[in-house]
Symmetry: C2
Subunit: 500 residues, 2 copies
């Protein structure tokens, strides 16, 4: 049996795990990642599914553990290439269906609703869905029975003893499989560095209730939009506004409220804004900007702090140890985290008594092979990141690289008309730049550069001139040198030749 | 008397405050800011000093409170425009001199060394330097006596009772001025939201000592490079490596050590890396990347946590209240912070008993006027941000704007040769793009676009063709529409015409 993650190992987001037995494949989740390349017009990042595309006829099922973007956000890109039945809870499939619809992908007969306790069969795999607790409804873990043994995939989980929807974490079923024998445990590493036990979601409700009772003005609450457990408060006779945008997203409702240009909500002194979410690393500055604007309008802001106005949806160290002890796996694969979380989780497993050689630390693309002789990383398949822009289309890596280059130093175009017969310049070379220098102020610089181009063409031999590629390279070389010497700048330089 | 901040109010960094009495000016600090525009080739941001440039003959002195970049980093850009004596402590002037040297600015006879307890006279201003404690040696507060009354400017401070260099916070002098009567207090707002009392720097030493005693491998410590109080540890017989790069800066020593390409230090399993610094908002992802690489090499990482491996250099709420109580100012101006810190500091002052109408909440550029009839915002002077790139030169705002536009959608150039006499196309229009689509894969797209340009020119009337500006606008309009319709993308479009 083989396990390959196409994303989510050594990186946050883009979770997608493939289980292979013989020729048959089972895919678990198809998530996206929010990119650092956002400034380069990249909206989301999805896994490179070409490995699955090659094997599309052998994919028996796509199983979704829950509806967060990092688990279902890339589903349309997978489903475009691989048509297989998709299993998930009611809530998860609701979100999945919407995504498939947005991409114009017919899907009705592929969606298969399951609930905790159900089991399905797909090729050689039997998958039982297990009730867990997490920060979105309808989250499930998986027990995957294969001819080689049973795998437990936790999905994203915590062990909430008092969940808001009263669907408790199912210790019994995990314990049952632990008794029967688990070949490998794949477990959520997000909070493997966080000591203790994660607070119950119910505590947030209590904390918000306390705030609601004390507040004198209006209340605006912002939270992760999938965290619907928090969207039921509001004492009678008092309006509570729930606004998206807890991460400072510029076009969100909360941002617009903060800036005073929301159609329906305008903040006043005495109003209270509660950010019931944690800042995702990288968003701190954007959140700060929103908070400053809220203060400017005289409203109060609460973010973080005690009593908990936000709790994590992921298991902390003590819960992770319970999961290891309950399932007693032969092999352990920490999943869902950057390398530092995976490593901390691995060390944790060692401390619970698992020998180091039974822990598989893998990166996205690594092929983990588990057999009678043991477990090992047996190879690598194609895996990587595909950039997607606002039009839902791929942005190739070279395009992003060019955008980055230009964004750092600007672009200079040297346009010259060259006589087809003689190879001589026809008219003056024209220099056009953007993001380089302020052209209105630096007209002299453009004239100088035009002279550099003219001299480069005139200095070329007849043979060189006959080859447009050579002429372009000469112009590029001379202009590059010229700008470095005269301005200490390194723009992208593009010679363009028109033959007349 | 007037007080104007050219930076540092409502923004973090770029601290620069101007005190005016009659025609005479005193400048306090000239700091820089690290930009969000980093991806657009902007290395640092400095205040727009044009207001001071206009008044350069009336600037009596530049006073530096301490040597952090957000207080002295823009000094060369100020000194280029305004030659005035520069006062500061030995340590501060050492850092300042180096900066002036880098810019080739002769400065020897302008630097005037002072120590705590010294007083200088500059025009109508008498400035006494007061010993405070902060996270860099040689930090001083200022008591500025003017004919209208005394101002206290705290600089950046905390009230460390056990400083590492034994230079204790000078309660007596603040108390003395409080007794004599303080017209206005300008006080550091950085930690106005942090309850309690900031830990002593000495506790970091104790915490690090504890780690050093337990560590079995090598130790690498990274801290803010100006925090020299922390750079004296190292038990005999044990090497401690102090490496810059606590913020994850890609070219720093720590980054290179983490990536395994540092000339002198290579990490091994069992080594310990201590990040004795806090993540500055916006740097979290870069720091995370470094930590992941350190883990990958098998070393341990300690960042944050208790006992304190880092403490702030700024006063918390209790200290800020003591400062207000000690100096008993008539007016209060919270400085050094984003709006949310300034506002929290203002509320704090109200709670200590200062009436709301004696608290001046101003933004950079606001002219605060304090006179016998009271205090008010009396107007605005030119203030703003100037972008500086790696060559130490200004990058104009329009250049940054163009870089941003291109970085989001790429750039398309439509090059056409037009016959001077007839206005007709000479040869085929050439389409060149970068950061737009993968040209090798999308050659069809370029040919289509060339056709769009041809048709745009051919459809133009004889009169339109006579005006190159009109022809360019027509080409731009048609190409823009074409790309939006066919690809749903919005590149920057630049038509370039060569006359033949």
């Amino acid at each position: 049996m083989q396990i390959v993650a196409l994303g989510g190992l050594g990186e946050f987001g883009m979770n997608c795990t493939v289980i292979r037995h013989g020729r048959d494949l089972l895919v678990i989740d198809a998530g996206l990642m929010f990119p650092e390349e956002q400034v380069y017009g990249v909206d989301i990042v999805v896994p490179d599914f070409s490995h699955l595309e090659e094997e599309k006829d052998h994919v028996r099922a796509i199983v979704l553990t829950h509806g967060h973007e990092d688990h279902v956000g890339a589903l349309p890109y997978l489903f475009e290439r691989v048509r297989a039945p998709i299993y998930g809870s009611d809530f998860t499939l609701g979100l999945a269906a919407r995504k498939l619809r947005e991409h114009g992908l017919p899907h009705d007969r592929h969606l298969k609703r399951v609930a905790a306790g159900d089991a399905i069969t797909a090729g050689p795999f039997r998958v039982e869905f297990i009730q867990i607790t997490h920060s979105i409804p309808g989250s499930l873990a998986l027990a995957i029975e294969t001819p080689s043994g049973t795998l437990i995939h936790t999905g994203d989980f915590k062990m909430d003893q008092t969940p808001v929807d009263d669907r408790r974490f199912d210790f019994q079923t995990f314990s049952y499989y632990g008794d029967q024998g688990v070949l490998a445990l794949l477990s959520d590493s997000t909070n493997a560095e966080v000591p203790g036990f994660t607070d119950s979601e119910r505590r947030v409700g209590e904390a918000l209730d306390g705030l609601f009772r004390r507040a004198s003005g209006r209340i605006i609450v912002s939270t992760f939009s999938s965290n619907v457990h928090r969207i039921r408060h509001g004492p009678p006779g008092r309006a509570v506004v729930v606004a998206a945008g807890s991460q400072g997203e510029p076009m969100s409702a909360l941002s617009r409220i903060a800036l005073g240009d929301h159609r329906d909500v305008s903040l006043e002194a005495g109003d209270l804004v509660i950010l019931s979410a944690r800042p995702i690393p990288g968003n701190e500055k954007a959140i700060n900007r929103v908070v400053n604007h809220i203060f400017q309008r005289g409203a109060e802001v609460i973010l973080g702090g005690r009593p908990p106005y936000h709790v994590s949806g992921h298991a902390s160290v003590e819960e992770l140890k319970i999961m290891l002890t309950l399932t007693r796996p032969r092999y352990f694969v920490p999943i869902h985290g950057e390398l530092r979380q995976l490593l901390s989780h691995a060390r944790l497993a060692e401390r619970t008594g698992l020998p180091r050689d039974r822990i598989l630390l893998a990166a996205s693309g690594d092929v983990m092979e588990i057999g009678p002789q043991g477990a090992r990383i047996a190879g690598k398949v194609r895996a990587g990141r595909v950039f997607i822009d606002g039009s839902l289309e791929e942005v190739e890596e070279i395009v992003v690289r060019d955008r980055r280059h230009i964004s750092e130093g600007g672009i200079v175009l040297a346009v010259e008309a060259i006589d087809k017969q003689t190879g001589a310049l026809d008219g003056d070379p024209e220099i056009v730049s953007r993001g380089f220098v302020h052209e209105e102020v630096r007209g002299d610089m453009l004239r100088e550069a035009s002279g550099v181009v003219r001299r480069a063409v005139e200095a070329a031999t007849r043979e060189e001139r006959a080859d447009r590629g050579v002429v372009k390279a000469l112009i590029q070389r001379d202009l590059k040198r010229h700008f470095r010497k005269s301005l200490d700048r390194r723009p992208m330089i593009i010679p363009a030749i028109i033959e007349t």
